[in-house]
Symmetry: C2
Subunit: 549 residues, 2 copies
């Protein structure tokens, strides 16, 4: 016999979910008791928003993540994390307990509710691609499978609500076990549309003298990285990535030139992209911030823009055409161009000069990230929080198998610390490095305790520049000042940890040595920078945003 | 010339709002710049959920509260606080910045959004009584007035979204300045229905031998406390209050017998209420937890149930009948009953025995709250967080002019620390005392830093009983364990503060003396209790909830 809740957890497990994040509450305790009997680990968070962020990062690393909360107070606290996952195409399964079906039919006012028992569903419906309240055990397994399929197909959040009385009901198993291979596919392609799209694109690209590829986040979401490598090999074209697409391939690749984010970009990257006679834009979300606050200058007449569902050339669309199929078509039909004509300035040249610390010198933003660029190792996971941290990390070069995680489009401040927990659980053998500003840290600081609780060993750089520096650059006012905490003292309050303060380049060297060797617990390094000492990219971004209207 | 944003803040100020809580973000900076030019103080929080809780508590104390956040990430992080205010009838004004109207008409993907620019409105519409996006400066003033009127009429949240380009537009002033006297009224009464309702109720009550009054939260919301006192004087009836209605009059009143919360109540209170031959229930929200997890035993045939909008007797309704009018009708027509027959056991008798500390004795839950009962002074504001804290404080007797604040119905964990900030701003001359469990504290701990930043002087009791004790009683499992923090060390990390740990009754005495004298900064007292040492009420509640299905 399999119960409804067992079936749900069994399916999640078969899709690669080994950890579920959540916060207990009386409507969800039965579900959590069942969960604790499965091979999946329940990771309890300090609050629900943090649980949502953790599950989001877990999904970015593993391809699927889940969060489990109580009804009402739990579900409603989670909304911002779900919207973020929706905006950035993250396959996140939201599981909520709920009152007994019998109670919902009555007219009783239950705690944690407003009395409208469909309120949570009706809100979640707006921010997910599929939402369901399980009300009938005989249909539950099919409903679970359909909902999970939508999550994996669209790479966007879904919502499953399980009333208390359904949890232990035995459930009718589907006749055909759903494949777990639908994991990374989005296979709706109209062959004739594909053929035509490939033909038009190939014509444009072959005619172009200096084409470039601009790659976005969908390479991570649909696991198309190998196809991108093959496309690079076949064509010889230079490649840039969007901010959200950062790290979709190794940034040491000889054809990789940098991140293109409009006015935020390094000048040579911007110049190369904006003077290309054909831009092959693949799998990117075309948002303002992802493109440098609308400062990106991509001439639509030179643009081929393909994402997971369609191809747009100039002003017409081919749909449905799946990104993977389109790339395969390009690989089969494009010729290799002469490297000389393509004018490729590989990004790895930035590392050609070695870094010489000046021990007594006060640390600056520029020198800090230059130093980190030489500290990064293959296989790291880098997480940057919203603010100057995410802008500064744009200039970090991601070596082989290094993943970059950040909410580069939705930009919710406070994402990084809970995301660190999620990513560390998703990839226990990998080392994590987190960059978080003081303002962002204050939003979700308590989740550091869960990282410490589970003896994870990320290296966390708390960039203390005394307030919301990114906003000071856009528009300064007293609201950008925050209470100055003694940040480096916080880890010891939560449990076993190592932390220090850094003011000079010499202190940074000592801290890096110590952090690298400290694999037993968290390393928390408070970096002191002047309040207006920020990245050049941020200065440019600030100007771009303040003049936008 | 008055601009749209100036008009909004001017109206809020004239309705008694002197502080607005919020978190900056680029869509709301212009609005905040305007706010900083008004007499209203902008209080910046660590995150938006906390800002919402703070504004909610501010509204409970002053009759209206407001929170101001950025679009998307800000608004969506606030949802749980808004639902809580909706559930517990709190007049909370949610103000959100928004992108320029021109951008919304285009097809651009802006950061902090999903691309659907009505998403935030469409969610807020579900959890408020009035929602509006200001799109036209000539209509804005009227829209603002109508929205604020709905907030004050229904005592429930409203939502006002202001696109960036509207902020500085000059606005047409309404011809008639709206009165600020609509502040506490809800005046829709059908005279004939009122007359009939009063007549039927008076007949029932005069016939009854042992009637009682059960009063709820609407006395606070509609500021009807004086009418309640007059009703008590006129009739001589005994009075109990619901959990959410606690402190609607001084609990030292000779007719006050205690809080009635079903099986949670003291036995004598429960017995008196449930054996009454007529229960006059006034202004109460009839929810499960407010009535002790459905363990309340109120015979509907003996029940007269009046709230702000209607009167229900047995199984028929009189509507619209405003609570204040109904009480006036009762006062005019009821006779005083003989005190002997009414069998009143005043709650203040509980204080008749003085408290003798046993200095070496390990502190227990029971002894701690007994001691606090003798420590409370006139004029305090008491805030209890969800969990054992709110259940335990039920037995605290609120002296003259003492207010009790807690989410007794919606029960969102983590409410108390942000609420402390809001209530302290609302009543700067009053002393606050907070009771918060360790699990609840972890949810929103960072807001303690804002309390410290503004040099507020609440006395905070952190009840450390090693996890979610209330859930251990309902259903125990590993999910009820939390990471043990060194709680008493946290305040010093945030700024100037005084804190200590308490294990024994003697240490508690010393701490109370110190806290009472310390009026310059926060006093943070970590109370160590055994993990299963909880209130008797909680034991009874846990049983009631776990058997509910």
């Amino acid at each position: 016999m399999t119960t409804v809740s067992e079936y749900l957890f069994h399916r999640l497990e078969s899709l690669g979910v080994q950890h579920i994040f959540g916060v207990p509450g009386d409507y969800v305790l039965d579900l959590m008791d069942v969960l604790n009997q499965t091979p999946i680990n329940l990771i309890c968070n300090c609050n629900e928003l943090n649980a949502g962020y953790a599950a989001d990062a877990y999904a970015r690393v593993r391809g699927l993540g889940a969060v489990c909360v109580t009804y009402g107070v739990g579900g409603f606290s989670l909304v911002n994390a779900v919207v973020g996952a929706y905006a950035e195409r993250v396959p996140l399964v939201v599981i909520s307990g709920a009152p007994n079906s019998s109670v919902r039919k009555g007219n009783l006012l239950l705690h944690h509710t407003t009395g409208d028992y469909n309120l949570q569903l009706s809100i979640m419906e707006k921010v997910t691609v599929a939402s369901v309240i399980l009300t009938n055990a005989s249909q539950a397994a099919n409903q679970i499978d359909q909902t999970l399929a939508a999550c994996l197909h669209y790479k966007r959040p879904v919502y499953i609500e399980i009333p208390l009385d359904l949890v232990h009901q035995s459930c009718t198993l589907p006749e055909i076990q759903p494949p777990s291979s639908f994991k990374f596919t989005n296979q709706e392609t109209l062959p004739a549309a594909l053929e035509e799209a490939v033909e038009e694109a190939v014509n444009l690209l072959e005619k172009a003298q200096r084409p470039v590829i601009l790659a976005g986040v969908e390479f991570n979401r649909f696991h198309l990285q190998n196809q991108l490598l093959k496309l690079l090999e076949t064509t010889g074209y230079p490649l840039a990535t969007t901010m959200l697409g950062k790290s979709c391939i190794s940034e040491m690749h000889p054809q990789f030139i940098g991140n293109y984010v409009g006015a935020l970009s390094r000048d040579d990257v911007r110049q190369r992209i904006e003077t290309a006679d054909c831009v092959l834009c693949l799998g990117a979300i075309m948002s303002d911030m992802n493109l440098g606050g609308y400062t990106a200058n991509l001439d639509e007449r030179k643009l081929i823009n393909a994402n997971s569902e369609k191809v747009k050339i100039k002003h017409h669309f081919y749909q449905p055409v799946y990104l993977g199929d389109f790339i395969d078509g390009l690989i089969a039909n494009l010729q290799k161009k002469d490297a000389e004509l393509l004018e490729i300035m590989p990004a790895f040249h930035l590392l050609s000069q070695s870094f010489m610390p000046q021990p007594e010198a006060k640390l600056t933003n520029r020198r800090f990230y230059e130093r980190i660029n030489h500290f990064l190792e293959d296989g790291f996971i880098i997480i940057a929080d919203t603010g100057d941290a995410i802008v500064s990390t744009m200039d970090l070069l991601m070596p082989q198998e290094t993943d970059f995680i950040g909410q580069a489009f939705y930009l919710s401040i406070g994402y990084s610390i809970p995301a660190c927990l999620g990513a560390a659980m998703a990839a226990p053998q990998r080392r994590l490095m987190i960059f978080v500003g003081d303002g962002a840290f204050q939003m979700t600081a308590q989740e550091l305790s869960t990282i410490i609780r589970h003896k994870l060993n990320p290296i966390i750089f708390l960039i203390n520049n005394d307030g919301y520096t990114i906003e000071r650059v856009i528009q300064d006012g007293p609201y950008n000042d925050i209470q100055p905490w003694k940040y480096h003292q916080i880890p010891q309050i939560f449990g076993e940890s190592w932390s220090c303060e850094v003011w000079t380049e010499g202190e940074l060297e000592a801290a890096l040595v110590k952090a690298q060797a400290n694999t037993n617990c968290v390393s928390f390094i408070e970096i002191h920078l002047d309040r207006f000492d920020c990245s050049q990219g941020l200065m440019r971004l600030g100007k771009a945003v303040s003049h936008r209207s």
